[in-house]
C-alpha cells in the first residue's frame, strides 16, 4: 500500500491500459512531452513512444473528431480536454457523432473512446477553469458519464472506461487530483454503472458525486456529533445511473439530500431528485432537497467559497428534513419562517 494521489492513480490506469491493449492511444494538448498540465499523462510518452501518447494541435473539435476517425479505424483513443470549459468547442463532435455513431449505423460502427475532462472548482482557478459541465453530457443519450471521488476509484473507473465498448466522458474532479490515499490500485474488471455507499447511516441519505463526496462525508461526520446518522452515497457513474443502490438507501432512511457543485437549476441533481421522488415517494418523510451551486456563472476565485456547497449548506438542508414532525417552512406560502 502506498500513498497515491488521484492524479497518480489516473496515470497508472492509463499506463496499465496502454500496456494491456495496443489499440489504446492517448492524445491531446500538452499530454506528450509535458505529461499533462496536471501530470496525469506523466511518463507515458517515455514509456510507450510518441506514436501512442502524443500532442495534438490546439483544437478540441479536432481532437475529438480525429479520435472518432481513429476509433472507426480500430483504435481506442483516450483523449484529454484540458479543462472543462475548453471541451465546449468539441461539443458538436461529442453530441452529434461520438454519442450517435453506433445508433446511426445500427451498431456496425461504434466509437469506443474516453474523453477525459478535468472539472469542478475548489482550486481558486480563474474564469473557465472551474465549470461543472456534467449535465450537458448526461443529457446526451449514447454517452456514458463517470466521475471518481477517490484515488482508488480513479484507477478502476478509468480502466473500466477504457474497456467499455461505449464512449465515456470521464470527469476528473481536479481539486482532488492531489488528495492521497493509502491504496493498492486494482481493477477487478467490474464494468461501469454502480454507485457505492461510502458511509452507512439510518437518518437520511446524502447523494453526491466527484468533488461533492468528500464534502458530504465531512458533513456526515459533523452531523454524527449532533446525533444525526447520515448515509452517504457516491454515485460514481452518472450514466448509467444506479437506481438500485440509490432507491434502497432512500427507502431505508426516508430522507434525501442531493449535493452537487454545478448550478442547481436544470442540473444533474434535478434528475437524481426526480428519480428519488418517483421511486421512493411512499417512503419519504420529507421533501428531497438539492444543495447546489447558485445559478450564476462560476464566480471569481475570491468568491468561490460563497458559491460552492460546503458542510454548512449541506447541514442546513439536513435540518430541513422534518425530523421533529415540523414541516420544512421554506416554500410554505403564507408562513414566515
Amino acid at each position: 500500500m502506498t500513498a497515491t494521489s488521484m492524479a497518480q492513480a489516473l496515470c497508472a490506469a492509463l499506463g496499465d491500459a496502454m500496456r494491456s491493449d495496443d489499440r489504446v492511444l492517448v492524445f491531446g494538448e500538452d499530454v506528450g512531452r509535458l505529461g499533462g498540465v496536471f501530470r496525469v499523462t506523466d511518463g507515458l510518452t517515455a514509456q510507450f513512444g510518441d506514436q501512442r501518447c502524443f500532442d495534438t494541435p490546439l483544437a478540441e473539435a479536432g481532437i475529438v473528431g480525429y479520435a472518432v476517425g481513429l476509433a472507426m479505424g480500430g483504435f481506442l483513443p483516450v483523449v484529454e480536454m484540458q479543462f472543462d470549459a475548453f471541451a465546449y468547442p468539441a461539443f458538436e463532435q461529442i453530441t452529434s457523432h461520438v454519442a450517435k455513431i453506433r445508433n446511426r449505423t445500427r451498431g456496425r460502427l461504434s466509437a469506443p473512446m474516453v474523453i477525459r475532462v478535468p472539472y469542478g472548482g475548489g482550486i481558486g482557478g480563474v474564469e473557465h477553469h472551474c465549470d461543472s459541465s456534467e449535465a450537458y453530457y448526461t443529457h446526451t443519450p449514447g454517452l456514458k458519464v463517470v466521475t471518481p471521488a477517490t484515488a482508488g476509484d480513479a484507477y478502476c473507473l478509468l480502466r473500466a472506461a477504457v474497456a467499455d465498448p461505449d464512449p465515456v466522458v470521464f470527469l476528473e474532479p481536479k481539486k482532488l487530483y492531489w488528495s492521497k490515499e493509502d491504496i493498492d490500485l486494482a481493477w477487478d474488471g467490474e464494468p461501469l454503472g454502480r454507485a457505492m455507499v461510502r458511509r452507512t447511516g439510518k437518518d437520511a441519505t446524502l447523494i453526491g458525486y466527484g468533488p461533492s463526496v468528500p464534502v458530504a462525508l465531512d458533513a456526515a461526520e459533523l452531523a454524527a456529533a449532533d446525533g444525526i446518522d447520515l448515509e452517504v452515497v457516491d454515485l460514481r457513474s452518472l450514466v448509467p445511473f444506479d437506481d438500485e443502490t440509490v432507491t434502497a438507501s432512500v427507502r431505508k432512511t426516508g430522507r434525501c439530500v442531493v449535493v452537487q457543485e454545478a448550478a442547481g437549476f436544470s442540473g444533474f441533481g434535478a434528475e437524481v431528485a426526480a428519480r428519488v421522488q418517483e421511486r421512493c415517494f411512499h417512503s419519504l418523510a420529507a421533501p428531497v432537497i438539492r444543495v447546489a451551486g447558485f445559478d450564476i456563472p462560476f464566480p471569481p476565485p475570491m468568491l468561490e467559497h460563497s458559491h460552492l456547497p460546503g458542510v454548512d449548506r449541506i447541514l442546513d438542508a439536513v435540518d430541513r428534513l422534518q425530523f421533529a414532525d415540523e414541516p420544512d417552512l421554506r416554500y410554505l406560502s403564507g408562513v414566515r419562517p
Partner: protein, 409 residues
C-alpha cells in the same frame, strides 16, 4: 365569393415517357385536397405511380376518366382555391406544411382523442378531492388512509395548516378509544374481539354511536309486585314483562325503530319482547314473539322456555331476532341502577335493579319495604321525556299496585 381555378397537368414523372394511363382516382369532385395529396394513380411503362397535386382547395373537375390515356402536359385535375380568408386558414391549418427543407413536414390534421388508456384509469380518491390538504409527508398521508382517517377532517396543528403526524395519530387513538400508550403496552394480555364477544362489541358500539339515547329512572316500592308474583306462582320477570307489554300498548312510541335511510319512525304493530339472559357464552337476548297476544301465564312459560334454551346454549338466530323492546333484569347482579344500552335497532330498554329492603315512606310513616330501581333508556328521536316518563310511571304504578293492571285487560 371568387374562386381561382388551378389546373394541374400530367407532370413528367421522370421516366422519359410521354403518356400515362389513368388507373384510378383517389378523390372526387367536391373533395377538399391539400398540396402533395395523392389524387390519382397512373400507369407508366410497367409501374403504377401515385401523383400528388400541388394545389390546395376543392376538386372542381377531373379531366380524365379511368382507363383514359393522357399525354404529359395534358389537363389532369382542376382545383378551386379556397378564397375566403377563413376557408384558406382552415385549409392551411389542415394542410400542414408540405415538404420542408429537411423532411416530410407537418402532417395534416391532429388526432385529438385518446386511445384506450393502458390499465385502469386512475380516479382521484375522495379524500384527495381536498387535494389542497397539506400533509407533512406522504408517509403520514398513508398512515391516515390506512387507518380510515379522512385527512381532510384532521385538524392540522402544523404551521401553514400542515397536518402533522401527531395530528393523524391523535385522531387514530381517539377512534380507538384508548391512548396509544395503552394499546401499545407490552405488559398486557391480548384477546381478539371476535365471535360472540366481537358481535356484542360491534352491536353496542353501533347502538351508542347511532342512537341519541337518554335515560330516566325511578325508585319503586315493589312490595305489591312480590305479593302478586307469589299469588300467581310466576317469576318476577314474568310479571314485569306483562306490565311492560301493557305499557307499550299504552305508549306505542317506544315500540319502534328509526329508519335513517328513509328518515322515518317505524312503529311496530306487534310487540316482540326481548329479555337479557346471562349465559356461559355471554349476554344473549332471546325474544318472546307476539308478547302482546300472550297471557301472563303464557308469557311466563315462554320466558322459562327461552331461558332454558339460553342456558343450554341452544338458542338459534330465530330466537334472537325481531325484537321491538328489551327488558333487562340486571338486578340479579346485585346492582340498583344503570344506563342501559339500547338493543339496536330498537327504541327503548327497560332495566330493573335488585329488589331489596329499603326504608320507605308509607302514609307518612317510615317503613321497610321491598324497593327496586327501574331505568328506562329511550331513543330520544322517537319521543320526548313526557312519553318516556309516562311509560316509566305507568310501569312503576303497576309494579307498586299490580291490581291496576286490570284496567288494561
Amino acid at each position: 365569393m371568387t374562386s381561382d381555378l388551378q389546373l394541374f397537368r400530367l407532370p413528367d414523372l421522370g421516366e422519359g415517357l410521354t403518356e400515362a394511363e389513368v388507373l384510378g382516382w383517389r378523390v372526387a369532385v367536391g373533395d377538399t385536397v391539400q398540396v402533395d395529396q395523392i389524387v390519382v394513380e397512373v400507369e407508366t411503362a410497367k409501374a403504377a405511380v401515385e401523383v400528388p397535386v400541388p394545389y390546395t382547395g376543392t376538386v372542381a373537375e377531373l379531366h380524365a376518366e379511368v382507363g383514359a390515356v393522357i399525354a404529359v402536359g395534358q389537363p389532369l385535375i382542376s382545383v378551386a382555391a379556397a378564397s375566403s380568408a377563413a376557408e384558406r386558414y382552415r385549409n392551411e391549418e389542415r394542410a400542414g406544411s408540405g415538404n420542408v427543407l429537411v423532411g416530410y413536414g407537418t402532417k395534416e390534421g391532429r388526432r385529438v382523442s385518446r386511445r384506450r388508456a393502458v390499465g385502469s384509469t386512475p380516479r382521484p380518491a375522495g379524500e384527495s378531492g381536498a387535494g389542497a390538504v397539506r400533509v407533512i409527508s406522504p408517509l403520514v398521508r398513508k398512515l391516515a388512509k390506512d387507518n380510515g382517517v379522512d385527512i381532510a377532517a384532521v385538524a392540522p396543528t402544523g404551521p401553514g395548516s400542515v397536518v402533522l403526524r401527531r395530528d393523524v395519530e391523535s385522531v387514530i387513538s381517539r377512534a380507538a378509544g384508548s391512548s396509544p400508550a395503552m394499546a401499545a403496552a407490552a405488559d398486557a394480555e391480548r384477546i381478539p374481539l371476535k365471535g360472540v364477544r366481537g358481535a356484542i362489541a360491534e352491536r353496542v358500539s353501533r347502538s351508542r354511536a347511532e342512537i341519541p339515547d337518554a335515560t330516566t329512572w325511578v325508585d319503586v316500592d315493589a312490595t305489591g309486585l312480590m305479593e302478586a308474583k307469589s299469588v300467581l306462582g310466576v317469576g318476577v320477570l314474568s310479571v314485569v314483562a306483562r306490565i311492560c307489554v301493557a305499557g307499550l300498548r299504552r305508549f306505542p312510541e317506544l315500540n319502534c325503530t328509526v329508519d335513517t335511510v328513509r328518515g322515518e319512525i317505524v312503529r311496530m304493530r306487534g310487540i316482540n319482547l326481548g329479555f337479557a339472559v346471562q349465559s356461559d357464552r355471554g349476554l344473549v337476548v332471546p325474544v318472546v314473539r307476539d308478547a302482546h297476544r300472550l297471557t301472563t301465564t303464557e308469557l311466563a312459560a315462554e320466558l322459562s322456555r327461552l331461558t332454558e334454551l339460553a342456558r343450554a346454549g341452544s338458542l338459534g338466530p330465530e330466537h334472537m331476532t325481531g325484537g321491538t323492546f328489551t327488558l333487562n333484569n340486571y338486578g340479579v347482579f346485585g346492582v340498583d341502577g344503570s344506563t342501559p344500552i339500547i338493543n339496536h335497532p330498537e327504541a327503548g330498554l327497560l332495566g330493573m335493579g335488585r329488589i331489596v329492603d329499603k326504608p320507605w315512606a308509607v302514609d307518612g310513616q317510615l317503613a321497610v319495604r321491598k324497593v327496586t330501581q327501574l331505568s328506562l333508556t329511550f331513543d330520544h328521536r322517537v319521543c320526548d321525556g313526557g312519553t318516556a316518563g309516562g311509560f316509566l310511571r305507568f310501569v312503576a304504578d303497576c309494579v307498586e299496585r299490580p291490581l291496576t293492571l286490570l284496567r288494561e285487560v
